[in-house]
Symmetry: C2
Subunit: 445 residues, 2 copies
């Protein structure tokens, strides 16, 4: 029989959409290392970032305030898809025969298909407020590019997307989606920028990477007066906007009278993970027992195999240097299907919390993740994105551990997006053509 505990999808109403984002900078144990200018290596100030970002976002990047109000027009647009459902994966639990309770927050219901819309709407709004006409950005698998293209269509801002070439080739439907929203898409590296041309000169067949695409988009914005740059992850203000995910989960769990024992999110640049996890971090710092796990691909393991140091956010070294876990900004990850996780670095805020031991990290190979995704599709019906499959698999692993130990843990993971436009990856898995890419990882310079 269904109890409220089983059925949580409608625990929240539109009034429960958060009125403010949660800013973890206010609760971080110790200060976040400053961002350094790429040339002078001195801490950057707001004026250094002004050619790329509107002041509204720059102020959020460095704000010490614990809560930052969500502007009403942004909240109105959130209402198109928020609160997103929180669902108990009953059928998966039964299949695994586990005493664990598995909940997932399903961000794939956003019209653009993932959590990325949470920050895309906010970024487009603050840029629009300051009169920006155009946004240049990068995209890996295309989730971020489609979200920003949609937000641009809503707010009347042009969007130009540099899409990592391997994803551009693997995922034509994602490109078409961006175009249907009115965005312009270039495969990256492209001949349109100096950064792109320089890569193509050395390696005409470069599969591209998020780091390269960022260089191209930053260059585009820096060299055009009417164009700003927009980043889909890594930066503090992006993590900030994503906290609506975790804040809604907290509100729902409060109604359930439950607290999660394990929080899980996949991590490329860190934004969907941070969005789920950050609002719970103060509870953990206050002594609540809780595992918080960032799951990355074995093929691009910045948290588990990288080092914590200053590095550029992009390949060409155009961005400021950030203190973060990194595999080195020249590392080009192999062409796994989870394109959104192919990033050499990690959000400084996530990195700091991993370094402090508040957050733990885990790396998984892609075949195991797809195996988990298939299990999930056949029990819960949802086809998840290859990125999200990392969280699915980690949740399954922990639920299986619970079966061994008999612990009835409450697991909450973020299902960051659907995989409807990633069916070719599923096809490759089902056809036995998917392998676990083995690559030589860089060592600390």
């Amino acid at each position: 029989m269904a109890t409220q505990n089983d059925r949580t999808k409608f625990l929240l109403g539109e009034h429960d959409i958060p009125k403010a984002w949660y800013n973890i900078l206010a609760d971080l144990p110790g200060p976040l290392p400053p961002v350094l200018h790429p040339v002078t290596l001195k801490p950057v100030g707001p004026e250094d970032l002004a050619p790329l970002f509107p002041m509204g976002l720059i102020m959020q990047e460095v704000s010490p305030e614990r809560y930052i109000e969500i502007p009403e027009p942004v909240r109105e647009m959130y209402k198109l898809y928020r609160p997103s459902p929180l669902i108990r994966a009953r059928r998966l639990e039964q299949l695994l025969d586990t005493p664990a309770r598995i909940y997932y927050k399903y961000e794939g219901v956003s019209p653009a298909g993932s959590h990325k819309l949470n920050t895309a709407i906010a970024q487009a709004f603050f840029n629009k407020q300051e009169g920006v006409k155009k946004l240049a950005t990068e995209t890996g698998a295309g989730q971020w590019g489609s979200a920003l293209s949609m937000a641009g269509a809503f707010l009347g801002i042009e969007v130009e997307v540099f899409m990592v070439k391997v994803s551009y080739q693997q995922k034509p439907y994602r490109r078409m989606l961006m175009e249907a929203y009115g965005g312009t898409v270039h495969p990256s590296p492209s001949p349109l920028t100096a950064a792109g041309r320089s890569i193509l000169e050395h390696d005409p067949d470069s599969p591209g990477s998020l780091g390269i695409a960022i260089s191209e988009a930053v260059e585009d914005a820096a060299t055009h007066d009417d164009t700003n740059y927009s980043l889909g992850s890594v930066l503090n203000h992006v993590m900030l906007h994503q906290t609506v995910i975790g804040l809604e989960c907290k509100a729902a769990f409060r109604k359930l009278g439950l607290a999660p024992d394990v929080l899980i999110g996949c991590a490329g640049g860190g934004s969907n993970f941070a969005g789920l996890a950050f609002p719970f971090v103060p509870d953990k710092l206050d002594g609540q027992k809780m595992r918080i796990i960032a799951v990355e691909p074995e093929a691009c393991p910045s948290l588990t195999r990288g080092w914590y140091d200053y590095d550029h956010g992009d390949v060409a070294g155009m961005t400021p240097k950030l203190k973060m876990y990194t595999l080195g900004h020249t590392f080009i990850p192999p062409a796994i299907h989870a394109g959104g996780l192919r990033y050499h670095g990690m959000a400084p805020l996530v990195s700091k919390l991993v370094n402090l031991g508040v957050i733990e990290a885990m790396a998984l190979p892609q075949t195991a993740c797809f195996e988990g995704a298939m299990l999930f599709a056949q029990t819960e019906g949802v086809i998840c994105a290859p990125e999200s499959s990392h969280a699915v698999r980690a949740a399954i692993n922990i639920a299986r551990e619970c079966k061994q130990t008999g612990e009835a843990k409450t697991i909450l993971f973020n299902l960051s997006g659907h995989g409807h436009l990633d069916m070719s990856a599923y096809q490759a898995y089902m056809g036995g053509q998917l392998t676990d890419v083995v690559c030589e990882l860089p060592t600390r310079p």
Copy 2:
């Protein structure tokens, strides 16, 4: 400012999922003409249908009861995605500068991506109850095949899908989705059945049609003891299961204190249209002023250019004869992108109500529909299926008429499914490669 009137997504909770389906047979003005045996031409009885369908569904097909209880396990599975959202298309209204209120019921939130899951779950359940091991079915665009594959995975029934060849080729992602849910998919016409082989003999390049695919699936079921047949539209019990759509809309509109003036659904076999419209039909019969519009493609206009007479449901003439609007069971519609609307006939229940003048019909060309779909994507964010784009475009047309007349009509349309797996059709439209297929329509024999 948002009022309850603007924001209807959460008007209903899980308790509002209907407890019974609405059976329009109880309220039909006059009896529905009987179904005739394909050979004897005598009315068929339950025993004639038993080789294909479980008795639970056969009884629903002919039941005179106004309400038929939804079994609790079916309702539990509905809770994965129901109640589906009812959304006011505010941004579209603003763009059209219309006094009309436009609401859409969004069935694309089901994990399989369309309204088809409403009947797939029910059909799989009643077959499972009677020990059926396998279901054979047809699919056009793939929405029905994915829904039944998912329902099969949930209930432990094998699913074999004959997919119209042109869709199989145009929409590889749909096939992969069915396979990810564990279904087996064959392009139709196939060499696996006598019906398929006979078509291939005459036309090896046949694009296929729903009528051919139905022949193949029926033959498969009729020639295998452990296999039943499952149909995604046309039959009374399918219309019945889909009424959860309209029943939820009625409940929501009651809470809004509104009544729709215009109801719109696209119509291929008629099921999503009937699901929305049927629960409102008694109100119209009771004198409430209301237009109820079925929208079909100009390339396959059974309601607007066909004739109301007995015909087979399939190309090979294996199914019983149904009294319906038809273009003749041998008509192969041109290869438009809305594969789910490529059917020569129309549900007998929908046909009867059109014949009585309770429901009106309208035919639209596909380019106009895609133009409407693009407008919808850029204002409301949702990428709709090519089938649903017919309803979107009709709603836009009527909202524009309201601008001319100044009438503040309340329009409600069914957005039957998302188009994430139909991006190649959008691409064709954006690239100017989509044309309005002109074909010679058959004349009444």
